[in-house]
């Protein structure tokens, strides 16, 4: 109880990391529902890695023209790098998919490998940048400046609003494209809207929590919710609640045990998924016997 009071107190030193994790925990699964539903889970792995490469690109760009290292005031540059790389990757994949016979997962796999290598190569010559990128890759969420937290909160609020208003349209083009076309919907335009939502979610989130945590919260809570909730109506809400609660519990555990926050969060949601799968398997077995 005292741990909870300490975490929730206004003067708590790591409160921005706590609130940042919570926001991502609640919002990322809402977007992840579409990645899982459209069988684009691999994209959920690759895009955060691409976004990280974008941040590395921003570090590299900065090092070319400035003598000092990237600092808090250059958040905008890192965000621009992350966003440009992520959206370019989405566009590139869409074009590649339309012109190539290669399967989507092959393209995504190549993209993931390339983005990972590029991230490390871009910062290899800059020791400070390398430490920053490695911190992102490890999911070390300690110091989130208030300005960055505000950008995350506002950006994610816009994403939640877009998902709320356009749920029917995004679901329609995601679940049955032929039906959407027969209604005269512009499927490509709605795909672009969804990809912008996915790209913005990832590029904003990766800046603060890194690719591992981003992927974990995008994919695993929707998988948990999909096993416990019947139907699509309540699935996003359930996934969001699982993600948010896991972020909350993960922070408490990491703080209490002095573990790195990102890996703790991701391990926790995976353990939750394993528990749900095990319990459902056991219940199914008991019913049969």
């Amino acid at each position: 109880m005292s741990l909870l009071m300490e975490i929730l107190s206004p003067g708590f030193l790591l409160r921005n990391a706590f609130y940042g994790g919570l926001i991502i925990g609640f919002v990322a699964p809402l977007v992840g529902v579409y990645l899982v539903g459209r069988r684009m889970v691999f994209l959920g792995v690759a895009l955060p890695q691409v976004s990280t490469a974008g941040v590395a690109g921003a570090f590299f760009w900065h090092a070319l023209f400035h003598e000092h290292a990237l600092h808090e005031g250059d958040f905008g540059l890192a965000l621009a790098g992350s966003t440009v790389f992520t959206l370019a990757a989405i566009l590139g994949l869409a074009v590649w998919e339309s012109r190539s016979r290669a399967r989507a997962e092959e393209q995504t796999g190549v993209l993931y490998a390339f983005a990972g290598a590029l991230s490390l190569l871009l910062v290899a010559s800059d020791r400070i940048a390398e430490i920053g990128i490695l911190g992102l890759l490890k999911g070390e969420i300690i110091a989130i400046p208030t300005g960055e937290l505000l950008v995350l909160a506002v950006g994610y609020a816009a994403i939640v609003a877009a998902l709320w208003f356009f749920k029917k349209d995004l679901l329609l083009v995601s679940a049955d494209r032929d039906l959407a076309r027969s209604f005269g919907k512009n499927v490509l335009a709605w795909d672009v809207v969804l990809y912008l939502i996915i790209g913005t979610t990832i590029s904003l989130g990766v800046l603060l929590v890194g690719p591992l945590v981003m992927f974990g919260f995008l994919i695993v809570p929707p998988l948990i919710a999909g096993r416990l909730v019947t139907g699509i109506r309540h699935l996003p809400l359930a996934a969001s609640l699982f993600g948010g609660l896991a972020a909350f519990a993960g922070f408490a555990i990491a703080y209490r045990l002095d573990w790195p926050l990102g890996p703790t969060d991701v391990a926790l949601v995976c353990v939750l998924l394993a528990l749900v799968v095990t319990a459902q398997t056991a219940i199914g077995w008991l019913r049969r016997t």
Partner: protein
């Protein structure tokens, strides 16, 4: 032709610039109950998809307005081509049929949910409403998809092989349902099928896709065993 729900005029159909069928002309009039027949790969599904606006024609004119407004299509896809990875219940799948009438950004409300349940009842599948769609049998899925098409409040119901992969009693029940919808509600129906014997009692006209052309006539003539044998033999030899 005036009075047609859908009119093809010298239309070439195909994908990515490659023609599948060329120079087609066809009218579907209100109240028609038609079967579209032919061998695999002859372009039956492409005709349906072009009518529904899913596949654009390569050349020619496709008109689908009636009484000065766009024709509403109820499209039932081939079951095996529908991959619903989203864990949707049967009622939610049917509710999707109401989305076409809603503007962008307008979320479905109680009226749309009630409409979906009415359509499930209409096809005798109300008990499936809470079941996950991917857990349904072939016949149950087909009923849910017909209900979804009805939820669009269609002028023209287009069904792509609605009898494939389901047992004979279920197929008979679905055909009886389609016959009832056509007779009692005047719903216009065009269905693609290979089940010639089963549809003989339901459809009034049949269209064969034969040698790249459309042969249309009364069901009694077009589905007569001698005619069917001749067409199949010619298709096989060609």
């Amino acid at each position: 032709m005036a009075g047609a729900l859908v009119s093809f005029q010298d239309v070439t159909l195909g994908y990515d610039g490659t023609p599948v069928l060329e120079g087609l002309s066809l009218d579907v009039r209100p109240g028609d109950c038609l079967a579209l027949l032919g061998p695999n790969g002859c372009g039956k599904s492409t005709i349906l998809k072009t009518m529904a606006g899913i596949v654009p024609p390569l050349r020619g004119t496709v008109r689908s307005t009636f009484d000065g407004r766009p024709v509403r299509f109820g499209y039932v896809p081939q079951q095996e081509t529908l991959d619903l990875a989203f864990p949707m219940t049967a009622a939610e799948v049917v509710e999707m049929g109401t989305y076409g009438g809603l503007p962008a950004g307008r979320r479905p409300r109680r009226a749309e949910r009630e409409r979906a349940l009415e359509c499930l009842e209409q096809v005798g599948a109300a008990e499936l409403r809470g079941r996950l769609f991917h857990t349904l049998s072939g016949g149950q899925k087909q009923r849910a998809l017909v209900a979804r098409a009805l939820a669009t409040e269609p002028d023209l119901l287009l069904l792509d092989e609605p009898l494939s992969g389901i047992d004979a009693p279920t197929a008979a029940a679905i055909l009886a349902l389609l016959g009832r919808l056509n007779r009692e509600q005047g719903l216009t129906i065009l269905l693609v099928t290979h089940h010639l014997g089963a549809v003989r009692e339901v459809v009034r006209e049949a269209i064969w896709v034969h040698g790249g052309k459309l042969l249309r006539g009364p069901a009694s003539t077009m589905l007569a065993p001698e005619r069917v044998r001749t067409i199949i033999e010619e298709d096989f030899l060609s």
